[in-house]
Structures are given as structure tokens and as C-alpha cells.
């Protein structure tokens, strides 16, 4: 749960550009799930009630038509649908929005069964070493612009902690923005991609800007030394 301002407006206080996908997800979740649970309770309750209340009676009575009630009921359902759809549209507009000026650009290259993260501005890239999955390193609380492509089949870049995934297609660049607030995330490939699909993981390390700059400098030195 989070504060009322977020629940009402859907906006995070003090944020600019792209929003945290996790908060957006929670906002919709807190709308959809209680409604769903309530509807389940009402209908399951009614079905059980009818089954027990009208059990083993001698003769059936009751109506076989109630058009006005049914019309009113459909109108109520339509109202609920309208609520869900409008909230969905509003939230999706925020989640899909890309910032005018992202803080950092990262190129993601997916291939069976590995991830490569390239930082064009710094001329460095991260790949997996031996059996260790590659780690995406990003500064916290900045809009990161991802440009993603695949070298072979369709993969899907999925960070459960951010409640976000996007497919990577071969021969096509997909662009999306994300903001990382917490220090660590687990990442997976979500689209089945063959033999080692289950092992196509990656890590995310998010750090404050100064630490990130230090990491960039160090990685640049290492990669230059390695040629």
C-alpha cells in the first residue's frame, strides 16, 4: 500500500517524465483485485445460497424472466467495465510514455541464452562471464532509455520487481523507459526461447549517480586494458 495521493492521481509526487512501473502496477492492482474478490464473493455466495436454499423442494416455482432487473444489472456491469477501462487507459499512457530527455541510454541485445547491455555514451558493454549471468548496472531514480533487439528468436526482458516486461524481436528495435528505485532486481527472459530458456537470467544493480560514474570509469579502464 502507498499513499492516497498516488492512489487518487496515479502520479508519484515530485517525479518527472517517466513513472515507476511498480507503483503504476500497484495502483491498478489495488483497483482490480478488490473488485474481483468482491464479485467472486457475491456470485459464489449466491450460487451456494441458491443450491442450499432451494434444495430438495417438492415443486419448482420462481420466475423464468426478469428483463428489467437484467437490464439494470448489465448497466451496473457496464459501469464497472467503464471504471476499469478508463483506469487502464490512464495508467497505460503513463507506463508506455517515453521521456523527452532520458537520463541514460542502454542498448539491450538478447540472444540464446544471454543478455548484453551496451552503454553507447560510455563505449562499454556488459556480457555474462562463464556461468554468471550478466548484470545491468544503472543509476537509481533516473529515466533509463532502453533500445532492445534480439539476434535470434523472440525473447522478453522481464524485471518482476518493476512489474514490467517487453519482448525483444530479431531485426527490430524496441524502445522503452524504466526507472529503478531500489538497489537490486532479478531479471529473466519471459518468452520461451528454446533449450536453456529457464537459465536466461540477468541481474540489475541500481546505485546512486556518483557510484554509477565510478563504476563506468572502472569498467572503461578494464575494457580498454582488455582491448
Amino acid at each position: 500500500m502507498y499513499d492516497l495521493a498516488v492512489a487518487v492521481s496515479g502520479y508519484l509526487p515530485g517525479e518527472a517524465g517517466v513513472v515507476d512501473t511498480r507503483h503504476q502496477y500497484n495502483h491498478l492492482f489495488d483497483l482490480f483485485v478488490p473488485i474481483g474478490l468482491a464479485v467472486f464473493a457475491i456470485f459464489a455466495g449466491l450460487i451456494l445460497f441458491m443450491a442450499l436454499r432451494y434444495r430438495r423442494r417438492q415443486r419448482a416455482g420462481g420466475r423464468t424472466e426478469a428483463r428489467l432487473a437484467e437490464l439494470v444489472y448489465v448497466a451496473v456491469l457496464a459501469g464497472i467495465v467503464a471504471l476499469l477501462v478508463t483506469n487502464t487507459f490512464r495508467t497505460e499512457a503513463k507506463v508506455d510514455r517515453v521521456a523527452a530527455r532520458p537520463g541514460l541510454a542502454v542498448t539491450v541485445t538478447a540472444a540464446k541464452w544471454n543478455w548484453r547491455f551496451t552503454y553507447p555514451a560510455y563505449g562499454i558493454s556488459v556480457v555474462s562471464a562463464d556461468i554468471h549471468p550478466s548484470t545491468l548496472v544503472v543509476p537509481t531514480n533516473q529515466t533509463i532509455r532502453f533500445r532492445m533487439t534480439s539476434l535470434d528468436v523472440i525473447h522478453s526482458f522481464y524485471v518482476p520487481g518493476l512489474r514490467f516486461k517487453r519482448d525483444a524481436f530479431p531485426g527490430k528495435a524496441t524502445t522503452f523507459d524504466l526507472v529503478f528505485e531500489r538497489p537490486r532486481f532479478m531479471g529473466e527472459c519471459a518468452e520461451f526461447c528454446g533449450l536453456h530458456h529457464a537459465d536466461m537470467r540477468f541481474g540489475v544493480e541500481a546505485m546512486p549517480a556518483p557510484e554509477f560514474r565510478a563504476w563506468v570509469a572502472q569498467t572503461q579502464r578494464e575494457q580498454r586494458a582488455a582491448g
Partner: protein
């Protein structure tokens, strides 16, 4: 002029034995063969699921290799959807629809028979993949390009899968066309379109969807085959997206093909065991038509995470399905209200369907919202969602239909005690299996993975799910025992053991070759109920 005298009509002698099994065109025997065949595929696909659940119970690979696991889930989904649940639905239609509309025969019986052969051949062809050097298909039941192309899925198993799916889709299309035609042109005198039973309306919209969407799958499979062997069809990213559009244009309607017939069967069961006329007949007819129409335009909600479709449109159409689905629930509850309910086994399974399908339907609204789907797409939330619709929903309704119509088909009753035992074991097993998957998926467990690390903490919920799947196996075994006992020494059913309301109960069990010696007058969608009410109104139980 004796030469012009009409030749004596030569009636074909009824075939028997092996010939009848392969070539009999009676809709009842085609329906039974289709049902039995589909149920065997259902059992086979269930065994594959048990192997998968056993592998997932613990982190690490214990039972099968990754390669085998990928074949298991591919073939589990493929068998279930192409040659088990869809044909089970069509088998019910083939057997019951001509009886319910008072027809002597299905329209174009030989076409329906060819449809059965094609479905059988399709299922066997798919399975023969297991016998090839590289094993069966392993690109998922959706076989997305480029994963399914010749570079990423070499081997004969994938080709056999494509051929099998094509045959099964063609077969289903033919059977559906025959059922559809029967409803449209073979109705008994007096049976207007607004007097056909609810199950027939459900089959009508089902068959409409089959004949409109399955040919698209046939085209997609043909293109995939050409692409694998000659290349050049699904080139580049545009090709990969185009394949998904073609596939889901079939792939979404098919989930309703696997749903409507069972809704229709449940409607019959609920009305019969509430001993009351179905509530809101016109409303549910309209809702089925609206349902079918909208569900032809929701396919790309399977593609929200691709970033390649207009998500808002498909989110809107998907959520609109709430309205017709809501009407169906309203009418089911309205039917029970004021009834004189008998909680026999068919009714228990029908109630199980109604309550458990709610979980599948409501979670369907959840995943119809793209920002929510961005998280749960391709995770175990989706696996839980569609198993609540297909297993906790459709399969429960299938058992409701079997317990309901078995006496009609065989002339013998299934055991009530074993039936109720099966129901309760199945309810517990189903919910133990699929409920934990919602939590696993929300925690980030993606689907189609052969393994997960111990650090994820997913083991306990997976153990629960695996235990549940074994209980489902036990419940299906109880059903098989019940069937065996009924066939050997079941209580004779008579023509109408349930006080049925529709025409199939106005003939013997099983019905004769041409179904009816004579038909009662048809003045509503429940002609036998009309007769019973007339007799009661006359104040005396007229001799039967």
C-alpha cells in the same frame, strides 16, 4: 411397362464390428468415437502434465532433461487444445445436437466422419514426433516464429507437429460445419430458432467461430511449413509479428470454442436439476451471440507485451466480454432461484464449473489490462488463469455433461457415490494445483521453465501444486473405474432418468439408428417440460 416400375429400395444393411467402428456414419457413433478418441488424448496429455509437475516439485533437474521438458509442455498444450478439449466439445455437439433439434441424422454425416478421421490422424501424427531422433515438437503449443523455423527447431518432430495441427484443424472445421448445418436446416417441425435448447445455441456460436477462425490456423500452419522448408515467408521482425496475428486470430476464438459448449451443457444441467425452465432464454441467446462476436476481436491481448499492437483497443474489447459473461451468470443463478434443486453428480460438477470458472474469468479481466499484463504475461499467473477457465471450468463442465448424458448414450447410469467422490477429490486437487500458481507467477516465476533456483523460494508452493496434480490424477482414475463399472453392470437408465426438458430425452437410451419414432409437439425450448406441465395442469398423471 414393368421396366419403368421403381426398383425396390435397397436399404443398406447396418454395418457392424470393425467396419462400423471405422466407417459408421450415424452421428451417435461418430460422436462417441470422437469423444473416446479425444478422451484418450486427454489422458495422454494429462500424463505429460504429471511428468512436468513432478519435475517442477523441486529446484534442479531430477526426472527429465531440459530438452524433454520442453517437449512435454509443448505436447501437453498441443494435445489438450487441438485434439482433446476442442474435439470433446465437438463430440458432445455431434452426439447431442441432432437429438436436441429432433433430427434423424446429422447434416452431411460422411463429412463429419471424415472430420473425425482427420482429428484422429492429426493427434497421432503429432504424437509420432516422440518416436523421431530429435523428439517431438518443442516450440510451445503456439510455435511462434522464428523459434519454430528450421534453424531454431530443426528435426522432423516440428514438421509432424505442423502436419498434425493442420489435420486436426481441418477435421474440427468439418465436424463443426456439420453440427452448424444440422442446427440451421435439420430442426424438427415447430422448432423455430428461438425454440432450440440453450446447448444448441452454444454449439451454434461455437461452430460459427470454428468455421471462421480454424481455417486461419490451417493457413498459418501451411505458411509455417513452407517457411521451414523453403524460407522467405516470415522474414524479419514483421514476419514474427504477422505469425502471432495469424495464430492468435485462431488462438483466441479457440478458447471460447473450448468454453461455450460446456456453458451450454451446464445450462441444460442447471435447468434440469433445478427442475425449472431456463431463466432468461432470450437474454442468454443474445449474450452468446454478442460473446462470439466480441471474442473474434480480442486476439491481440495475447500480444500486449510485444509492443507491436494497439493495446487499448484489445483491452477494451477484452473487458467488454464481462457483459455477456455476466448475463450468463445472472441467468444461471436466476434458473436456480425458486427451483427444486437436486444435487446429483451432474449438478455438482455444474456448480463446480460455475464457481471455479469465476476465478478464471475474473483473473481474465485482470490480465486484459495491459499494465497488469506487462507483469503477469508469460508467468504462472497466466498458467493459473487459463487452467481455471479450461480445467476448473471446461473440464468440470465436461464431466457434468458426461454424467448427465452418459445414461442417454449407453442406457446405463454412472454410479452416484463414485461420481460424488470424484467431484470432491477433483475440486481439492484442482485448487491445490492451480491456486499456488497465481502466487508463484506474481512472484516472477515465468512459464515454460524446466527449472528454477533454490534462492527463489518457490519450492513449497510448487510442491503443493504437484501434490494437487496427483489428486487430479486420482479423481480421473475414479472416473475411469465408474465408467468401467457402469458399462459392466450399471443401473439401466430408461429413456428419461432425469426428467429432462429437451428432445433427446423423448427417445430410448441409447436412441435407435434414426433417433425418433415420433416427436412430441415443440412449442418452446423445453418441449418435454411443456408436456409435463400440461399433464399437471390437467390434474392427473396421464399414463406415460
Amino acid at each position: 411397362m414393368t421396366a419403368l416400375a421403381p426398383a425396390p429400395v435397397t436399404r443398406p444393411t447396418p454395418a457392424s464390428g470393425v467396419i462400423e467402428w471405422f466407417a459408421g456414419t450415424d452421428h451417435k457413433s461418430v460422436g462417441v468415437r470422437l469423444g473416446v478418441t479425444a478422451f484418450v488424448f486427454f489422458l495422454a496429455a494429462g500424463v505429460l502434465a504429471l511428468l512436468m509437475r513432478s519435475e517442477l516439485a523441486e529446484p534442479g533437474m531430477q526426472l527429465v532433461s531440459r530438452n524433454t521438458y520442453n517437449q512435454l509442455f509443448t505436447m501437453h498444450g498441443s494435445l489438450m487444445i487441438y485434439v482433446a478439449i476442442t474435439p470433446l466439445a465437438l463430440a458432445l455437439g455431434t452426439y447431442i445436437v441432432p437429438l436436441q433439434v429432433g433430427a434423424a441424422e446429422i447434416l452431411a454425416p460422411r463429412v463429419a466422419l471424415v472430420g473425425y478421421w482427420l482429428l484422429l490422424a492429426g493427434g497421432i501424427t503429432m504424437c509420432t514426433g516422440f518416436l523421431t531422433t530429435h523428439g517431438a515438437a518443442r516450440a510451445g503449443w503456439t510455435a511462434f516464429d522464428p523459434l519454430s523455423d528450421s534453424v531454431n527447431s530443426p528435426g522432423t518432430g516440428m514438421d509432424l507437429w505442423i502436419i498434425g495441427v493442420t489435420l486436426a484443424a481441418l477435421g474440427a472445421t468439418l465436424v463443426a460445419a456439420c453440427v452448424l448445418g444440422t442446427i440451421l436446416v435439420r430442426r424438427a417441425p415447430g422448432m423455430t430458432m428461438l425454440r432450440i435448447p440453450v446447448f444448441c445455441w452454444a454449439m451454434l456460436v461455437t461452430c460459427l467461430m470454428v468455421v471462421m477462425s480454424f481455417p486461419v490456423l490451417v493457413v498459418a500452419m501451411a505458411l509455417l511449413y513452407v517457411d521451414r522448408h523453403f524460407g522467405g515467408v516470415f522474414e524479419g521482425a514483421g514476419g514474427a509479428v504477422a505469425y502471432q496475428h495469424l495464430f492468435w486470430f485462431y488462438g483466441h476464438p479457440v478458447v471460447y470454442v473450448m468454453f461455450f459448449p460446456f456453458v451450454g451443457a451446464v445450462a441444460e444441467v442447471v435447468a434440469t436439476f433445478s427442475r425449472k425452465r431456463f431463466f432468461g432464454y432470450k437474454a442468454i441467446v443474445l449474450s452468446l451471440l454478442v460473446f462470439a462476436a466480441i471474442s473474434m476481436s480480442v486476439w491481440a491481448h495475447h500480444m500486449f507485451a510485444t509492443g507491436q499492437v494497439k493495446n487499448q483497443y484489445f483491452a477494451l474489447t477484452s473487458m467488454l466480454l464481462v457483459l455477456p459473461a455476466g448475463v450468463e451468470y445472472f441467468d444461471m443463478i436466476g434458473t436456480m432461484m425458486g427451483g427444486a434443486i437436486l444435487l446429483r453428480t451432474p449438478m455438482l460438477f455444474a456448480l463446480g464449473f460455475l464457481i471455479q470458472f469465476l476465478v478464471g474469468g475474473l483473473s481474465g479481466i485482470f490480465v486484459a489490462s495491459p499494465p497488469l499484463d506487462y507483469h503477469v504475461h508469460d508467468t504462472f499467473v497466466i498458467v493459473a488463469h487459463f487452467h481455471y477457465t479450461l480445467f476448473a471450468g471446461s473440464v468440470f463442465a465436461f464431466f457434468a455433461a458426461v454424467y448427465y448424458w452418459w445414461p442417454k448414450m449407453t442406457g446405463r447410469m454412472l454410479g452416484e457415490g463414485l461420481g460424488k467422490l470424484q467431484f470432491w477429490v477433483m475440486v481439492i486437487g484442482t485448487n491445490l494445483t492451480f491456486m499456488p500458481m497465481f502466487f508463484l507467477g506474481n512472484d516472477g516465476m515465468v512459464r515454460r521453465i524446466a527449472d528454477y533456483t533454490p534462492q527463489t523460494g518457490w519450492q513449497h508452493l510448487n510442491e503443493v501444486a504437484t501434490l494437487g496434480s496427483y489428486l487430479i490424477a486420482v479423481s480421473v482414475a475414479i472416473f475411469c473405474v465408474n465408467v468401467f463399472r457402469s458399462l459392466r453392470a450399471g443401473t439401466p437408465a430408461g429413456g428419461d432418468p432425469w426428467e429432462g426438458q429437451t428432445l433427446e430425452w423423448a427417445t430410448s437410451s441409447p436412441p435407435p439408428r434414426h433417433n425418433f419414432d415420433r416427436l412430441p409437439p415443440v412449442r418452446s425450448h423445453a418441449p418435454l417440460l411443456d408436456l409435463r406441465e400440461e399433464r399437471q395442469a390437467r390434474g392427473a398423471g396421464a399414463p406415460a
